[in-house]
């Protein structure tokens, strides 16, 4: 039988999916063991038990001075920035995408501009943002917006253009104005794609968030990682990295679930 036609059955599939995770954990564990046996005070690859203990401490024990649990306040600060940034970017991109996709005049005016804009490396703009918006929350949110809006805009405007011309003509023969076509035909068909697009750009959004926090912040997950880096506190860094990964995964999963529940017509073929 050809390799392309061989499919794993259910238990094998689960096993295969778990395999890379297990492999990484084992590799780390072995590496850590080797280093620690040579030098018990090695900080580079802390033992998994050490990480677990640190994680438990980080999640439950408050700061010695303020009593505040730093991990949670960092999480809250970062998620707030991420949420505001992504929400603004999504709203802006939907507006621009529908405009560019629907109106030939807007397309001529904006589509090349957005294409060029999306080539600007957002991180290179970070110093400018800090100068213009100060070191506070605004510059971090703006970096996320600047970073992901062009991508989502281009994706959505292309999706609008992909809507079959027949459907747009049909709406016109039913007497719909441009606004009604936008509200009742284009937007409902674009929103699922928007969620898809946001899911794809969440990775970039996290990148920009952590970069901005690393440079200038007084709280946030990225800030904390770069702070404890000075003490080579690998156990804390690793806990934060795993926590960020988990958060990103959960957000992605939630968006997928929302999209499935809210747009039943997508599931039924098309």
């Amino acid at each position: 039988m050809r390799l392309i036609n061989r499919r794993p059955d259910r238990p094998t599939a689960v096993l295969l999916a778990a395999l890379p995770f297990v492999a990484v954990i084992i590799a780390y564990w072995i590496g850590s063991e080797i280093r620690l046996s040579a030098n018990p005070s090695d900080k580079l690859l802390p033992a998994p038990e050490t990480i677990a203990a640190t994680a438990k401490q980080l999640f439950t024990e408050g700061d010695r001075r303020t009593g505040e649990i730093l991990l949670w306040s960092d999480t809250w600060a970062s998620l707030r920035r991420l949420g505001i940034g992504v929400a603004i970017a999504a709203a802006l991109a939907t507006f621009l995408g529908v405009l560019i996709g629907m109106l030939p005049y807007a397309r001529r005016t904006l589509s090349d501009f957005v294409a060029v804009l999306s080539m600007v490396p957002p991180l290179a703009l970070l110093p400018i943002l800090f100068i213009v918006f100060g070191l506070g929350e605004t510059s971090k949110v703006v970096l996320i917006v600047v970073g992901i809006t062009p991508f989502i805009t281009r994706d959505l405007s292309q999706r609008v253009l992909d809507i079959p011309h027949e459907e747009i003509v049909k709406a016109q023969t039913l007497g719909a104005s441009t606004a009604v076509i936008a509200l009742r035909v284009v937007l409902p068909k674009i929103i699922p794609r928007l969620i898809q697009s946001v899911r794809l750009s969440l990775g970039a959004a996290w990148l920009f968030l952590i970069a901005a926090e690393a440079v200038a912040a007084d709280s946030g997950l990225g800030y904390r990682i770069f702070l404890v880096r000075r003490y080579l506190a690998m156990d804390i860094i690793l806990t934060y990295v795993i926590w960020i990964t988990l958060l990103a995964f959960l957000i992605d999963w939630a968006l997928k679930a929302i999209s499935r529940a809210a747009f039943p017509w997508l599931e039924e073929g098309l």
Binding site: P164, E166, E167, V169, K170, A171, Q172, T173, L174, G175, A176, S177, A179, V180, I181, L183, R184, V185, P188, K189, F263, P264, W265, E268, G269, L270
Partner: protein
């Protein structure tokens, strides 16, 4: 009396001539089938009737009105595909035909309830009452086209344009759809233009069959000349002409 009046219509895209010198008078309530080889401009002609495209020369008037510059409620249309809105339920598709001209394209409160009731009546009449709450993607091809026709007629257009509406259906469904369309037409007395590549379908349904073809052909420049109406058959009475000539000219009976 001519209801749809096509005067000297030409259409070309750059150097490419698609349609030339089309003149046509269609009376109200007539069913016009348009047939021809693929690429002969019959779909282009339908788009011109739809006002989705503007002819490079000539004009098309409905009931003496001004030539349209964009599609509107005067013209209903059913395409081979993508004729219903996949993101609306079957019932909402029918309601949309009433609510789209309003400011937000949506009805609220009692108006919505009334429109839904009317939509349910329409759906019962076209045999889709039992699937009112489903999405079009769950329907068979024939049911989707029935919905598309129902939706188009709900907007009460002056003319109905069908672009190979049954082209993607299996033969059995297609015959059922012919009966459906014939019944609906007897009821509404609608003026219909139907593009089809199925000759027998064109003759079966149409009062008139127009054949599009290129009368001029330059082998060195196949795109130089466009197609026009080369035959205009009277398809009533099973395609046999002059069956009612005595009604028109009673004096002939004397001989």
């Amino acid at each position: 009396m001519s209801f749809v009046e096509v005067t000297d219509v030409w259409q070309s895209y750059g150097q490419r001539s698609i349609i030339e010198r089309v003149n046509l008078d269609v009376t109200e309530g007539e069913f016009v089938s348009i047939v021809g080889a693929s690429g002969c401009g019959k779909s282009t002609f339908l788009r011109l009737l739809l006002a989705d495209e503007t002819p490079s020369r000539g004009e098309i008037r409905i009931d003496g009105g001004d030539p349209a510059r964009e599609p509107g409620r005067e013209r209903g249309v059913v395409f081979q595909k993508y004729s219903v809105f996949p993101h609306m339920t079957v019932r909402d598709n029918i309601v949309a035909a009433e609510s789209f001209p309003s400011g937000l394209g949506r009805f609220f409160g009692s108006k919505l309830r009334a429109a839904r009731e009317r939509a349910d009546e329409t759906l019962d009449r076209i045999g889709l009452g039992h699937v009112a709450k489903q999405y079009p993607a769950t329907l068979s091809g024939g049911m989707q086209q029935r919905l598309a026709i129902g939706q188009a007629l709900t907007a009460r257009p002056r003319i109905l344009l069908l672009d190979e509406p049954f082209g993607a259906l299996d033969p059995g469904t297609r015959i059922a759809m012919h009966d459906f369309l014939t019944d609906l037409r007897a009821e509404t007395k609608m003026t219909v233009f139907m593009v089809t590549h199925d000759l027998s379908e064109g003759f079966k349904l149409g009062d008139r069959v127009l054949v599009f073809d290129k009368p001029r052909w330059d082998p060195h420049a196949p795109e130089a000349f466009g197609a026009t109406v080369t035959y205009d058959f009277d398809a009533r009475d099973g395609g046999m002409p002059f069956q009612h000539i005595l009604d028109w000219y009673p004096s002939l009976a004397a001989h």
